[in-house]
C-alpha cells in the first residue's frame, strides 16, 4: 500500500520525465558525435531539420511513424495482459504475406478502395494467426511467450525467404520479392495534407495507412479502457489470481490478447507494402517490430503516448538518414547508436531519474505530490 516514492502529478509523470530522459539520451548522443569529430549542435540541427524542416521530411517522418504506431500498439495490447510479445516483427512479416496474396490475386480486377479493406482483414488475420500459436503454447503448455515469439520471428523469416525466392517470385526475376502490384493495390498518398500547409513535397510515401493507424490507436484505447474484454485483459495483466477469481479464463484471455496484438502487428505491413513499395520484399519489416517495443514502453502503453513516441522514432529514422547523408563521418550505424541511446534512456532506464525528481517535488511542494494520486488514471 505504501509506495516507497510518492506519486507525481500527471504532467510530470507523462511530460517532464520522458523529456528529461530524452534530453539525456541526446546529450550522450552528442558526446558520441563529438568523438567522431563532428559538431554535435550542427548534427542536432540537421537531424531535426531533416525530419521536420521540409514537407518531404515531414511526410517521411510520418510514414515511418505510421509503421511504429502499429507495432507499438501491438506490443502495448499484449503488455496490458502482461504478455511480452516480442513477436511483432514476425507477425508483421506474415501479415505482409496475407497482403501479398490478396493484392497479387485481385489487383488487376478491383479498385484500391475495395482491395484495401480486404487486405486489412488479410493482414490482421495472418498476423493474428502467427500470434495464436505462441499464445496457445503459453496458455496450454506454459511455454514462455518471450521465447516462443522470438523463435517465431525466425520461423517467419525462413518461411518468407522460402516463399519470396520460390513460389511468390515471378519467373525469371532476380530479386527475392513479389512482382510489383498494379494500380488496384496502390494506396492513395496523403502528401496533399502537408501541401495544404504550403510545404512542397517531392515524392514521399506517406499514405492513408497513417489515418488507419490513428483510428487503430483510438480503437485500442476503446478496447483497453472501455470494453469488457479490455477490462478482463487488464485484470489478468495485473493479477492472474484475481482474474481466476473473477471467472476469467486464462487460456481464452491470453489467446485473445495475443491474437489482437498479432493482428495489429500484421496491419503494420499495409504501410510499406501497399503504401510504398507496392510489392513484398525480403526483410521489409526490418526491425520495426523491435522498435515497437521501445515505442510502447516509451508511450507508457497508452495509445496517445504511443503515437507521440512513434513520431519521435519516425523523426530519428528520417532525420537520421539525412544526417548520415550530410555528415559522412556519421554512418548509418551511428544513427542506430543514437536510436539505441533513446531506447536505453527512455525505455530501459525509464525510472532512473524518477526518484530524484520525486524527491525534488517532495521538497519543493509536498502537497503537489499525491495530489494527483487521487485522480490519477491507472493507465
Amino acid at each position: 500500500m505504501s509506495t516507497p516514492y510518492a506519486k507525481l502529478p500527471a504532467w510530470a509523470d507523462y511530460g517532464l520525465i520522458p523529456l528529461i530522459n530524452l534530453s539525456v539520451a541526446f546529450i550522450v548522443a552528442g558526446f558520441v558525435v563529438m568523438l567522431v569529430g563532428e559538431n554535435p549542435f550542427r548534427a542536432a540541427v540537421i537531424l531535426v531539420e531533416g525530419a521536420f524542416g521540409k514537407g518531404t521530411g515531414i511526410a517521411f517522418t510520418l510514414f515511418y511513424a505510421t509503421t511504429f504506431i502499429f507495432t507499438g500498439l501491438s506490443v502495448a495490447v499484449a503488455a496490458h495482459c502482461s504478455l511480452f510479445n516480442i513477436g511483432t516483427e514476425g507477425q508483421a512479416y506474415i501479415g505482409g504475406l496475407g497482403i501479398a496474396l490478396v493484392c497479387l490475386s485481385l489487383d488487376s480486377v478491383l479498385p484500391w478502395w475495395v482491395i484495401f479493406p480486404i487486405a486489412i482483414v488479410a493482414a490482421a488475420v495472418f498476423g493474428a494467426a502467427w500470434g495464436f500459436i505462441p499464445a496457445y503454447l503459453q496458455a496450454k503448455r506454459g511455454s514462455h511467450i518471450v521465447i516462443t515469439t522470438i523463435m517465431f520471428n525466425f520461423i517467419a523469416a525462413s518461411v518468407m525467404v522460402y516463399l519470396l525466392v520460390g513460389p511468390l517470385k515471378p519467373a525469371g526475376s532476380q530479386a527475392p520479392q513479389t512482382r510489383n502490384f498494379l494500380a488496384g493495390a496502390e494506396l492513395p498518398k496523403l502528401n496533399w495534407i502537408i501541401e495544404l500547409f504550403g510545404a512542397k513535397i517531392r515524392s514521399a510515401p506517406l499514405n492513408i495507412c497513417f489515418l488507419l493507424a490513428l483510428v487503430m490507436a483510438f480503437l485500442v484505447w476503446l478496447l483497453i479502457w472501455r470494453t469488457r474484454l479490455g477490462y478482463e485483459m487488464r485484470t489478468y495483466g495485473h493479477s492472474p489470481k484475481a482474474a481466476r477469481y473473477a471467472g476469467i479464463s486464462e487460456t481464452r484471455i491470453i489467446i485473445t490478447a495475443m491474437m489482437i496484438s498479432g493482428a495489429l502487428a500484421g496491419m503494420m505491413a499495409l504501410n510499406p507494402v501497399m503504401g510504398d513499395q507496392h510489392n513484398v520484399a525480403i526483410d521489409f519489416v526490418s526491425g520495426a517490430g523491435y522498435v515497437g517495443i521501445a515505442v510502447a514502453l516509451m508511450g507508457r502503453l497508452h495509445p496517445v503516448g504511443i503515437v507521440l513516441a512513434a513520431i519521435l522514432f519516425g523523426m530519428l529514422y528520417q532525420g537520421g538518414a539525412e544526417l548520415a547523408f550530410e555528415m559522412p563521418a556519421i554512418s548509418r550505424d551511428m544513427i542506430v547508436i543514437i536510436q539505441g541511446l533513446v531506447i536505453l534512456f527512455a525505455g530501459a532506464l525509464e525510472h532512473m531519474f524518477r526518484p530524484y525528481i520525486q524527491a525534488l517535488f517532495a521538497s519543493v511542494s509536498p502537497k503537489s505530490v499525491g495530489m494527483q494520486a487521487v485522480n490519477g488514471k491507472g493507465a
Binding site: T3, R226, G247, N375
Partner: protein
C-alpha cells in the same frame, strides 16, 4: 514522565482532498509500548509512514530523543534508530533469512565478512530477545509468524531503538501473536520503544502502557492503558457506542443450500490439505469454520468457489452438483448464486491498481447491468459504485480513487459490498474482518446476520475465535485438513482451543 523517544508536533498530511493527518501531536516515552488505535482510514499508517520517511508531512515537526530531525527517506529514519515492520512484509521470498537481514546493509562486494558478521550478530539478537529463526531457512518456506520475526530482526540488526509495528497480528495465529507479545515485552525491558498499531483492543489492553486514539485524521485522545477500558476506546474511535458482540436472534435453518461431501483437496505439491470433509450449510444459518491458519480452510474455500481443483468428493449448490475438476469456473458459480469473499483481498479479491469502481464489478463484469454490448457501461458502473460506497460507508467516497490508496479496512468493505449486494443465495467468506476496525466489524457482522435472516446460507472461515463464536449458529473446527468437531455457538473458548490444537483428535486416533 520519562524522556520522550519520539515527539510529533502539529503533523499535517493531505492526499488531494483527503486530509489523512491533521495537527497530530504525539509523544511516546522511551522504553514504553505505545498503542495507536482508530477506525480504518483514520490515518494511523500515514502517520507512521511519515515517521518512517515514506511520506513527508505537509507541515509539522518530528523530534527524536528531544532533537528536531528531518526524515525524508527510510534511510534517514533507520539512521535515527527507527525501524518499521509493515503489515505486508517486505522480504525477498527466495532469499534466506540471513540474506534478507543483511539486504541493504551489506558492506562489501563479496559479502563474506558481512555474512560472517551478520551471523554472529543474528545469533546474539536471537538469544537476547528470544527471536529464534533458522538463519539459513528460505523465507517462502517459513510460516508468516516467523517471517514477521525476520522483519523484526531486520530492524534490530540495523540498530533500531524505536520499533513501529503496523497491524502485526492481523496475519498471525493466536499462539503466534502471544509469542510476538512476549518478544515485544522483552524488547521493552531492554529499553526499546515500541509503537503498535492494531485493531484488536484486547491486545492494546494486554500489552501497551499508553494508547492514543485517532479519528478521521485527528488525534482524539491519549490514555494510560491501565486507566481505560475496551468500551471507552471503542467509543472514542468511532464516536458512538459500539456493540462488541452483535445481537442476533435464533436462527431458523431452512433447506440445505450448500452441501459438501467427502471433499479432498491437494495443494500444488500434492500434499493433502482438505481431507475427506463433509458438512451442510442450510438457508438461514451461519456456519463458522474455526481453526489455526493453514489447516486447510483456505483450500476448502477455494475448492468450493471453483478457484482450485478438488481431488474427490461432491459439492452441491442449491441442490445441483458443482463440477470440482476445475471446469466449474468461478463466474459460472456466481451466476448460480454463490458469492465469495476471498481471504486474500490484495491478490485475489481486488486488483489494487484498478480504480475503486472497476473493482466494484470484478467477477460481475459480464453482468448485463454493467454492459452496453461489448462496452462497459461506465455511467452504470459509477452509479453502482457510488451506491455501494454510500451503503457500506466506504471512505474516502471517491469511486475514481485507486484501490491501493484505500486503507485496509475500506478495501475489505469494497469486496464485501460487491459480493453481498449481488444478493447471492450462498455466501462464503474468508476472514471477514481481517484488518478491519471495531466499528466496521460491527457493521460487517450485522450485514452477515442480516443475510442469514433473509434465509441465505453463510459459511464463514476465520482465525478469530471471538468472531466465530459471535457469528456462528454452528461451529466446525478444522485441524490438519479434517473437521475434528462440531459445536454450538455457546462452546467455550477453551473447548474450541483444544479442538483447534488437535488434542481431542489425537486422543481419538489413539
Amino acid at each position: 514522565m520519562a524522556q520522550a523517544a519520539i515527539e510529533l508536533i502539529g503533523i499535517n498530511k493531505s492526499f488531494g482532498a483527503v486530509r489523512a493527518n491533521r495537527d497530530i501531536n504525539l509523544e511516546v516515552a522511551r522504553g514504553t509500548i505505545h498503542g495507536i488505535v482508530g477506525e480504518n482510514g483514520a490515518g494511523k499508517s500515514t502517520l507512521m509512514s511519515i515517521l518512517y520517511g515514506f511520506y513527508q508531512a505537509d507541515s509539522g515537526e518530528i523530534r527524536v530523543g528531544g532533537k528536531p530531525v528531518s526524515i525524508n527517506t527510510s534511510n534517514d529514519a533507520i539512521a535515527l534508530g527507527i525501524g518499521m515492520v509493515h503489515q505486508h512484509f517486505m522480504l525477498v521470498d527466495n532469499f534466506t533469512v540471513l540474506e534478507n537481514v543483511i539486504l541493504g546493509a551489506e558492506n562489501d562486494a563479496l559479502l563474506k565478512s558481512s555474512i560472517a558478521k551478520a551471523r554472529s550478530e543474528l545469533d546474539r539478537l536471537e538469544r537476547e530477545y528470544g527471536l529464534e529463526v533458522d538463519p539459513d531457512a528460505v523465507i517462502e518456506e517459513l510460516p508468516v509468524g516467523l517471517q514477521q520475526r525476520v522483519e523484526i530482526l531486520k530492524a534490530l540488526y540495523r540498530g533500531a531503538e524505536i520499533l513501529i509495528l503496523d497491524e502485526p497480528t492481523g496475519v498471525l495465529t493466536p499462539a503466534e501473536a502471544d509469542h510476538l507479545f512476549r518478544i515485544l515485552k522483552q524488547l521493552k525491558d531492554q529499553g526499546k520503544t515500541i509503537v503498535l498499531i492494531t485493531h484488536k483492543l484486547r491486545e492494546i489492553m494486554a500489552i501497551t502502557d499508553t494508547v492514543s486514539v485517532m479519528r478521521q485524521g485527528t488525534m482524539v485522545a491519549t490514555r494510560v492503558t491501565k486507566e481505560t477500558t475496551v468500551g471507552e476506546l471503542a467509543e472514542l474511535m468511532v464516536g458512538r457506542r459500539v456493540l462488541l458482540r452483535v445481537e442476533k436472534g435464533q436462527s431458523e435453518a431452512g433447506a440445505i443450500r450448500l452441501s459438501v461431501k467427502n471433499l479432498t483437496v491437494k495443494d500444488s505439491r500434492g500434499v493433502t490439505m482438505v481431507d475427506n470433509v463433509s458438512f451442510d450449510v442450510r438457508g438461514g444459518e451461519i456456519v463458522g469454520i474455526a481453526g489455526v491458519a493453514g489447516n486447510g480452510q483456505s483450500e476448502l474455500l477455494e475448492a468450493i468457489s471453483g478457484i482450485r481443483h478438488a481431488v474427490s468428493g461432491e459439492v452441491m449448490l442449491e441442490g445441483k452438483p458443482i463440477d470440482l475438476t476445475g471446469k466449474a469456473d468461478p463466474g459460472e458459480l456466481r451466476d448460480r448464486g454463490l458469492a465469495h469473499v476471498p481471504e486474500d483481498r490484495h491478490h485475489v479479491g481486488l486488483v489494487l491498481a484498478f480504480e475503486e469502481n472497476e473493482n466494484s464489478i470484478l467477477g460481475y463484469h459480464d453482468d448485463e447491468r454493467y454492459l452496453k454490448g461489448p462496452f462497459l457501461d461506465i455511467d452504470a458502473i459509477m452509479a453502482d459504485a457510488k451506491d455501494k460506497i454510500e451503503k457500506y460507508d466506504i471512505r474516502p467516497g471517491n469511486p475514481r480513487l485507486k484501490t491501493a490508496n484505500f486503507s485496509g479496512g475500506n478495501q475489505q468493505k469494497i469486496v464485501l459490498a460487491r459480493e453481498m449486494e449481488q444478493d447471492p443465495g450462498v455466501l462464503i467468506v474468508g476472514q471477514p474482518t481481517r484488518g478491519v476496525d471495531v466499528g466496521a466489524i460491527e457493521f460487517i457482522h450485522k450485514r452477515l446476520i442480516a443475510m442469514r435472516d433473509q434465509g441465505k446460507a453463510v459459511l464463514v472461515v476465520s482465525v478469530e475465535l471471538d468472531e466465530i463464536r459471535s457469528l456462528s449458529d454452528r461451529i466446525l473446527v478444522m485441524f490438519a485438513g479434517r473437521v475434528v468437531g462440531e459445536r454450538g455457538p455457546d462452546a467455550t473458548e477453551g473447548e474450541l482451543g483444544l479442538l483447534m490444537a488437535g488434542v481431542e483428535h489425537q486422543e481419538a486416533a489413539e
